[in-house]
Every structure is written in C-alpha cells, then in structure tokens.
C-alpha cells in the first residue's frame, strides 16, 4: 500500500480543476482498472433457483404461442400443396394402374406425418 499511503495525505486538498474531472484519460483508465478487478461470478445454480420460483406463464400466452405454431404449419403445408404436381402424379398413377384409394391414403398419411413433425419441431 506504499503508493496509496504516499498519496493519501493529498486527498484532502482537492483543487477546483481536479474536482471538475476533466481528464478523460483518467476516466478510461479508472474504468478499465475497476472492470479488470471485477471477478466473474459463476452461475452456480443461481439461475435455476430463480427459474424455479417464477410463476407459471399465463395460459393466454401459451395459447397464443400454440396458435402461432399451428398457423405456421398450416401455411407451410399450403405452400407444399400449392407446389405439388397433383395432376402429373394422378395421370402417372392411372398409367401405372395404381389404385386411387391407396394413392389418396398414402397422401393423407404423408401429410399427417409432415404436419405432426412440423408441430413437434415448432414446440421444441
């Protein structure tokens, strides 16, 4: 503490220019020193303790989030359906003499699988 004690006596005699604090270099240096000396406090379960005490999110917010997710999945499905070449697939199916019922069944099942996957992904 040599330097501190050496200058401690002078602290009581502050002149006007020092009081006005017009030394940006000193400000920057002091800010750096203060930050350099600050340790980072590990989370150490702090965040988990806070989260455990939070009230449950409102039902309204949850419902709103679910509606947004369903809307996103529906919009994605609509785009896929719009781009899908149903006509070509149908004519190909007729040419290959695939049963229309099995084709519709496969289509519905794939759509359901895609929508479920989309919803699950959005929820995660």
């Amino acid at each position: 503490m040599d330097k501190f004690e050496q200058w401690q006596g002078g602290a009581n005699t502050l002149n006007d220019s020092t009081l006005q604090g017009k030394d940006p270099d000193f400000d920057a240096w002091l800010g750096q020193q203060l930050q350099f000396n600050e340790p980072y406090l590990d989370n150490d379960g702090f965040c988990e303790r806070v989260m455990a005490q939070l009230p449950a999110p409102s039902r309204r917010a949850e419902r709103r989030a679910t509606r947004v997710q369903y809307a996103a999945v529906l919009a994605a499905s609509a785009i896929v359906a719009w781009q899908f070449p149903f006509g070509e697939v149908l004519s190909e199916a007729v040419q290959q003499s695939i049963s229309l019922y099995s084709l519709v069944g496969v289509g519905i099942l794939s759509s359901l699988a895609a929508m479920t996957g989309g919803i699950l992904a959005a929820r995660r």
């Binding site: 009081l19 203060l34 989370n43 806070v50 939070l54 917010a61 989030a65």
Partner: protein
C-alpha cells in the same frame, strides 16, 4: 443464438417463454450479484437473496416494462430499491459472521492480487457510500449519469457531484499508479 434484450423480453411477454428469461438471468447475474455484494457491505448471502428477488420481481413486472430505459437500468433500479428497503427495515441487524467470512475470503484473494488492485480497493474505501455507488454505476457498469440517478433515486446534479468528487479523490489517491502507467 444470442438474442438481444429486447427480443428476449418480447418472447417472455408475448409467448410466455421462460427460457428466454433464463437467458436474461444468465446474462446479468454476475454483474448484479457483484454490485449488490458491494451494496450489502460484503454480505454475499444477502446480496444473492436480493438479486434473486430482483429477478423474480422483474419477471412479474415485465409486461409493464415499456422499454423507456435499458433492461439493465430497470433491473438495477428494482434491485437497489429492494436492498435499500431491506436496509431500512433491518438497520440494526448486520450478519457480522457473514461479513467477517466474506472479508476473510477477500483478504486471502487480495493478498494474491497486484498492488494496484489493493490500492484501488483501499482508495474506493475512502469514498462515501453514495460516491462509491455512483462511481460503480457510472465508471464500472457504464451507466450514464441520468441512468445512475434513476437507479439511486437521486437528483441528476447530486449524482454528477458524487462522481466528480469521487473521481477527483481517486485521481489524487491513485496518482502514483497513473504516473507509472504513463511513464511506462
């Protein structure tokens, strides 16, 4: 993905997304706990309790957060209010054991620090509590004078005066170190 405070707050308020709030807690826990330790005179357990309460209170009040100030300013204001109100209620009771424990721990750490850090701590100890808080908020945390005034619930002029007086005192006390840095 590292979202900014505004986006995280929007997710919490609009979607009830608590994971977004957890991200905010992780972002500010160290700074806030460190600041409150100083405000609680080294009582680490009390400071952590206050920080925890501040985060919970902020979560509950988040829908009313208008975004006029930064989230950190708003959070600090809540935390400072909690500590001050706790101090008012429990003025005579100081957990001396906790303070002694913290100080003992600090002195071990201090012995390992450089002389500069030791002298800086000693110089900070020469300031009044209000000056120390003002310097901590403005020069260590980077809050503006206006933000510090709103956190400390003091007039702007008073905060400026605290900062100026503290700066002048520190400048005199740490002059030798400064000269050493400047002269290489």
């Amino acid at each position: 993905m590292d979202l900014n405070d505004e986006d995280l707050i929007r997710r919490v308020v609009e979607d009830g997304d608590q994971r977004a709030y957890a991200q905010l807690v992780r972002r500010y826990q160290s700074q806030l706990r460190f600041s409150l330790r100083q405000l609680c005179d080294g009582d680490q357990a009390l400071a952590d309790d206050m920080a925890q309460e501040a985060f919970i209170k902020a979560y509950k009040a988040l829908p009313a957060f208008r975004g006029d100030a930064r989230f950190s300013t708003w959070l600090y204001r809540i935390a400072y209010n909690l500590v001050m109100s706790h101090k008012r209620k429990n003025a005579p009771e100081v957990d001396q054991e906790a303070v002694d424990r913290a100080q003992a721990q600090e002195s071990v750490e201090e012995s390992q620090q450089l002389g500069m850090a030791r002298d800086l701590n000693a110089a900070m100890g020469e300031l009044s509590e209000a000056q120390r808080q003002a310097v901590h908020l403005c020069m260590q945390r980077g809050f503006s004078h206006e933000e510090a005034a709103s956190i400390m619930k003091l007039p702007l002029g008073t905060v400026k005066s605290h900062v100026n007086r503290a700066r002048a005192k520190l400048q005199t006390l740490l002059q030798a170190w400064r000269e050493e840095v400047v002269n290489g």
